[in-house]
């Protein structure tokens, strides 16, 4: 049996459908004051008429072949407007490429031979130097001879790496913050991929409005 929605779009056809067991979509809406045959679920036919009320409702009155009278008050509902078509979703622009500031903090006495091989490889160094701002591989014991303290301009990187296993790789966008950070990948190619993923070359970036991208 079809189910009427709580606020039926066309209540009458829905009622017809309930009474007759027809499919909702096949049921036409009858006219007011006009007698019509109302097929019932038991395959018999009742005679029915719709009588309007003053408050825009309607009585459905029907009589079955075996003498039963039925009465329904039909309350029309404002047809729900068809749902707005979903506006087309504009294509998501690719992530805004960034000129990265790249720093790697290491403890020179614990960096392994394999890690030094990665750190010395030109695969990622060439990308870092040519397309980004490569700060360098910063020893965690660095200090300025004049002050005995780490140089102020490197302190953010050193602090960032303090609680992590070194070497610790840090990408920033140079102004607003960290773009990515993590342990040194296990190959030079993986490090190069990370740099390419988070920082495409500025000249290829149509969205970047910063002066240094132009």
């Amino acid at each position: 049996m079809p189910t009427c929605p709580t606020k039926s779009f066309y209540l009458l056809p829905c009622l017809f459908a309930i009474l007759t067991g027809q499919a909702l979509a096949q049921t036409p809406a009858p006219a007011i004051h006009t007698r019509f045959a109302l097929p019932l679920a038991d395959k018999t036919t009742a005679m029915a008429v719709l009588l309007p009320t003053q408050d825009s409702q309607a009585w459905l009155v029907y009589a079955t072949p075996n003498g039963k009278i039925g009465l329904y008050l039909l309350t029309p509902t404002t047809p729900t407007p068809p749902p707005e078509p979903t506006p087309p979703v504009p294509p998501v622009p690719p992530p805004v490429p960034t000129r990265l500031t790249i720093a790697i903090v290491e403890d020179p006495s614990t960096t392994t031979q394999e890690q030094r091989g990665i750190l010395s490889d030109s695969t990622w160094r060439d990308i870092a130097k040519s397309k980004h701002d490569f700060i360098g591989i910063i020893p965690n014991d660095i200090k300025d001879a004049r002050t005995g303290l780490p140089p102020a301009w490197l302190t953010p990187f050193l602090n960032r790496a303090k609680l992590h296993r070194l070497p610790w790789v840090i990408f920033t966008d140079g102004s607003t913050g960290i773009v990515w950070e993590g342990e040194l990948p296990d190959s030079s190619a993986a490090l190069a991929d990370l740099i390419s993923k988070y920082g495409a070359p500025p000249h290829a970036n149509p969205y970047c409005l910063r002066p240094k991208c132009r």
Partner: protein, 263 residues
């Protein structure tokens, strides 16, 4: 030009061919590089290299060299660091040591710089053209650093000719930590770690900077080094020492970390 390999076979030729360079050793009987004065392991705050970098067993060297081809220190430094030229001075001990600092800077990704060996040596020698020891250079580089070459005219032994600010600039290029290198196994371990070493060689009375581990076709080992005899020597100053000629017997030190100067 094929890279010059200095071995037992041609070591004497090296001395003969470069008599003019070995002025101290040949003319005055005094080598440019003198034996270290502080015994191994006794310099305060300088740890033995093997303490920091456990010696890599010899049987692993060949595989590691093959695996690391193209990533050793010389590959980074040779394109960007022109050779030192100590000319007629006996300051190899300062040139080779400052080259080690320069190489470390390149590893660290810092702007490649040529540092003034004279700014290391002259404050110690008072301008005298004498040889020195690896530990002298080490202590000076650790305490004061070396200024950029532009502050000090090349091979000028007069401190008065240094430009104003040289003594402040040298603090930007100061070694923070060194390792004391005991033997060839240490040297090879450090080369495999991409750490430069200033090596003092008794047979030559000379100090050079080792950069690369080398595997010869016959399975023996050597070290790729930077000399301080200008671009005419070897391949733009770069050459190879076999193990017997490259084993540092006058003292050897490796800079581990260096102050960062802003780009």
């Amino acid at each position: 030009m094929p890279t010059l390999i200095v071995s037992d076979q041609n070591a004497d030729e090296q001395i003969e061919q470069h008599r003019h360079r070995l002025r101290g050793k040949v003319l005055y009987g005094q080598a440019g590089c003198l034996p270290r004065t502080i015994p191994f392991g006794e310099i305060p705050d300088v740890k033995p290299a093997s303490f920091l970098f456990p010696r890599i067993p010899r049987e692993k060297w060949a595989d590691l060299i093959r695996a690391g081809q193209g990533t050793f220190l010389g590959n980074l430094t040779r394109p960007v660091l022109p050779p030192h030229d100590q000319a007629q001075t006996n300051y190899c001990w300062a040139h080779g040591s400052t080259r080690a600092v320069e190489a470390l800077r390149v590893y660290q990704g810092q702007l490649p710089l040529i540092l003034s060996a004279e700014s290391v040596a002259v404050p110690l020698t008072g301008g005298q053209n004498r040889g020195g020891t690896p530990d002298e250079a080490l202590l000076q580089l650790r305490k004061y650093g070396a200024c950029k070459q532009e502050f000090w005219p090349l091979n000028d032994l007069n401190i008065k000719h240094a430009k104003t600010g040289w003594d402040n600039d040298r603090l930007d290029h100061q070694v923070i930590a060194w390792a004391d290198v005991e033997n060839f196994a240490d040297q090879m371990t450090l080369a495999l770690h991409r750490i430069p070493v200033a090596i003092g060689l008794g047979w030559w009375g000379h100090l050079v900077c080792q950069l690369d581990p080398i595997l010869f076709p016959d399975g023996t080992f050597g070290l790729g080094c930077d000399n301080s005899w200008g671009s005419d020597y070897g391949e733009n100053g770069y050459f190879i020492l076999t193990e017997s000629k490259g084993t540092a017997d006058l003292g050897a030190f490796a800079p581990i970390s260096e102050t960062f100067s802003p780009h």
